[in-house]
């Protein structure tokens, strides 16, 4: 009987809340009342981090929750939501309360557990989204929450409050809806989060393609160089391998030495990466792992003796996924090479193109998809965005269509293909990437950010719609974020930028098999965004 009454009460309250929802666009969460309209509340922003997500370590994506003595008593899964209690700058540890997460193993920390975690393992609330996994007052299971920017923390005062309260404001997406309303959650009342999953950017994008990436941009609310989970450091390989050690494996492939990246290059496969003291191994890296040198403005040489042998070490940053913090360590300099110089890490692109799909080219009925996630914000077939529009006072003309959308939105491969040129510096602080697509036509995807989608590199086979980059914006402040889309028939070979080449009486400064992408893009756009 009690349960029936409770259910009826819940339904009534839920109906009341949903009725309110229909006419309002801002709510706050109350543990007893559910969603409450907050349009008449007054509020002001403040800066105080209260909630954060845990970033897992390299051991199965988990870190330990420590007690005051620094002993681990439970595991925390990557993406767990925590409330920040206090922070100790000296120890770089933060006391947290577990709010909710993805996994429910016996060894997991549970909701309400208090403990300490490294500050470096906390990520801002903007870094992930939250999925509510139960029906609540005025809310349905499947509701998604994502904070909408750096001013997400509010001090709010409503008619039925006795005093100002601190809230964190989310954009709330009800199941099946792509338009958001605002939901303020008191940072001391986390009943809303009893049963949740947390989602990374990619997962959120898949569920709500309309989310603008700015909503979820990692803000520098918590900044720290990543500190790795060192509870079980990988086995130390105390001998620095000789990079020129004989590789006994014969390779019958025709090698195209390729790659503008700098990588770990060792015949033995794996190597040790050390901390600044060089005495601690913080993880192992593999041949082919991409690294970037950290170059100082002053000449410096870091020497270390390993097993009686002196090596010069260099500081390097390892490749990380979008949104992840830096991953930095020290590696013997002899083990870092340009990919094109590393005989153990060549890539192959020969003969793959005919095998990746049946698409015969631009005129194939199944070709292609539009390269942005949504319809462009401004037509690309007119004005300065259009192909052939005058540039440089009429000395040349525009060789592309500019597709305006929002910064950091994914850029998608228009057809199956192979990445033949990974990101290189293009124009105004942006980057370009080149793909040869099924049937042989070539696309230069220009004015993208420097963020590389996972796995996108030289020789990578992409399917239609796969992410090949993210929309960038030039640093002069002149222009909107855009994809600069260049299309080539593929009948010619060689660099895409060329000079003194006339095409139909105009100077595009491009290879002569340049095509006007407009009719193709219009066709793909109409097919893709028909609704």
């Amino acid at each position: 009987m009690f349960f029936l009454q409770k259910s009826l009460f819940t339904i009534v309250l839920s109906l009341v809340a949903q009725t309110a929802l229909a006419g309002a666009d801002r709510f706050y969460w109350d543990a007893r009342k559910g969603l409450v309209e907050a349009n008449t509340c007054t509020y002001k922003t403040y800066s105080n981090v209260k909630l954060a997500f845990v970033k897992g370590g390299f051991l199965q994506g988990r870190i330990g929750l420590e007690n005051a003595d620094g002993k681990i008593f439970a595991d925390i899964d990557n993406g767990t939501l925590v409330r920040i209690i206090s922070s100790n700058e000296e120890t770089a540890k933060v006391q947290v309360e577990i709010i909710g997460g993805n996994k429910e193993n016996d060894t997991d920390a549970k909701k309400g557990d208090l403990g300490f975690v490294p500050k470096a393992n906390l990520r801002p609330i903007q870094s992930r989204g939250i999925k509510i996994n139960e029906d609540l007052l005025g809310l349905s299971a499947g509701t998604l929450l994502v904070t909408f920017g750096e001013n997400s923390y509010l001090r709010m005062n409503c008619r039925d409050f006795s005093a100002e309260k601190e809230y964190l404001v989310f954009n709330m997406y009800r199941p099946g809806e792509t338009n958001a309303v605002q939901l303020a959650v008191n940072t001391s009342d986390t009943s809303l989060f009893n049963h949740i999953s947390t989602l990374d950017k990619e997962q959120m994008y898949n569920l709500i393609p309309t989310i603008i990436n700015d909503d979820m941009d990692m803000k520098t609310l918590i900044t720290a160089t990543e500190k790795l989970d060192q509870r079980n450091p990988p086995p130390a390989n105390e001998t620095i391998p000789d990079p020129d050690e004989e590789d006994n494996e014969n390779d019958d492939h025709l090698k195209i030495q390729n790659g503008v990246e700098t990588i770990i290059c060792s015949a033995s496969g794996s190597i040790n990466v050390r901390d600044e003291s060089l005495s601690n191994v913080i993880y192992t890296a593999q041949t082919g792992d991409q690294v970037k040198f950290y170059q100082s403005f002053e000449p410096q040489t870091i020497k270390g003796v390993i097993n009686g042998v002196e090596y010069i070490f260099v500081k390097v940053e390892f490749e990380t996924k979008a949104g992840e913090p830096q991953k930095i360590g020290y590696v013997a300099s002899t083990l870092i090479k340009a990919k094109s110089e590393c005989e153990y890490a060549s890539s192959y692109i020969d003969d793959l193109l005919p095998t990746i799909s049946n698409m015969t080219g631009l005129n194939d009925p199944n070709c292609c998809t539009f390269p942005t996630m949504k319809r462009v914000t401004v037509p690309f077939s007119s004005g300065q965005r259009s192909f052939g529009w005058a540039r440089a006072g009429g000395k040349r003309v525009h060789a592309a269509n500019d597709l305006y959308r929002f910064k950091d939105e994914p850029i998608r491969a228009v057809a199956p293909g192979i990445v033949i040129r990974p990101l290189y510096r293009f124009y105004g602080g942006t980057y370009a990437l080149e793909v040869v697509h099924s049937g042989g036509f070539v696309v230069r995807y220009g004015e993208m950010t420097g963020v590389v989608p996972e796995g996108i590199n030289f020789g990578k086979v992409v399917q239609m719609g796969d992410r090949v980059g993210y929309m960038g914006v030039v640093n002069s402040g002149c222009c909107s974020p855009m994809l600069h889309f260049e299309l080539y028939s593929g009948k010619l070979k060689g660099p895409l930028t060329q000079f003194n080449t006339e095409i139909n009486g105009k100077y595009y400064n491009r290879r002569q098999d340049l095509l006007n992408p407009t009719p193709y893009l219009l066709k793909w756009q109409n097919a893709q965004f028909r609704k």
Binding site: I256, A322, Q326, R396, P422, Y427, E434, F458, K493
Partner: protein, 217 residues
């Protein structure tokens, strides 16, 4: 012999090649002095920038003319690389070649001149074509006068007209078919994940990037 085109008969324009000099240890100074003589800016003209050391000014007086020569005086790829070698900067060439869009060679250096870093040059070529320098850049250390000194030196060394865009953190000019821009990097810029450069997200705020690139858009 690789040489660049003389600008005038009384200028020293030859780059000393490795094969022409037996004493490898003397190469660095020779190359440095030769380039310094070509600089349009004297050390005295830079005296107003008191927070920049003499060595750092020297670095700028080497790299900026080298970039000017590489772009506007058609100093070819081998000569640029050779000069970087002479300067003991340990240039490394990284190639990306494919049968469809030819070859991209990126030249970077393992060593630095004091106050500078991340030299980066992108050359495109195909089988029958000479190399084309599409992009070249380096970075200068953060500091109160860093943006101003680079701006002043680039303006004079490249003999530039009125800027196209200018604000307190950014300036750009157009010259022929090139854009020359200088930018002071802020925290957001450092977070953009450049595929080639690594940044300390705190210490490197204020780093100056100087770039010459093809007006490709």
């Amino acid at each position: 012999m690789i040489a660049r085109r003389p600008k005038s008969s009384n200028e020293q324009t030859e780059v000393v090649l490795k094969s022409e000099v037996k004493d490898n240890n003397s190469l660095s100074l020779d190359a440095m002095e030769i380039i310094l003589k070509r600089s349009k800016i004297s050390e005295q003209e830079l005296s107003q920038f008191s927070s920049i050391s003499a060595q750092e000014k020297k670095s700028l007086r080497i790299l900026i003319p080298l970039m000017n020569d590489a772009i506007f005086e058609n100093l070819d790829k081998n000569s640029v690389t050779g000069t970087l070698e002479k300067l003991k900067l340990e240039p490394v060439q990284m190639d990306s070649e494919n049968p469809y869009t030819g070859k991209l060679s990126i030249i970077r250096t393992r060593n630095i001149l004091p106050g500078t870093r991340y030299f980066h040059a992108q050359y495109f070529s195909s089988n029958n074509q000479s190399h084309y320098l599409q992009y070249i850049s380096f970075e200068f250390k953060p500091g109160p006068e860093s943006f101003a000194i680079v701006k002043e030196m680039v303006r004079k060394e490249f003999n530039l007209p009125k800027p196209v865009t200018e604000n307190e953190n950014y300036i750009s000019w157009k010259k022929e078919d090139r854009i020359i821009w200088i930018k002071k990097l802020d925290a957001n810029d450092l977070n953009k994940k450049d595929p080639y450069n690594s940044y300390d997200l705190k210490k490197d705020i204020g780093t100056i990037v100087m770039t010459v690139e093809t007006e490709i858009h």
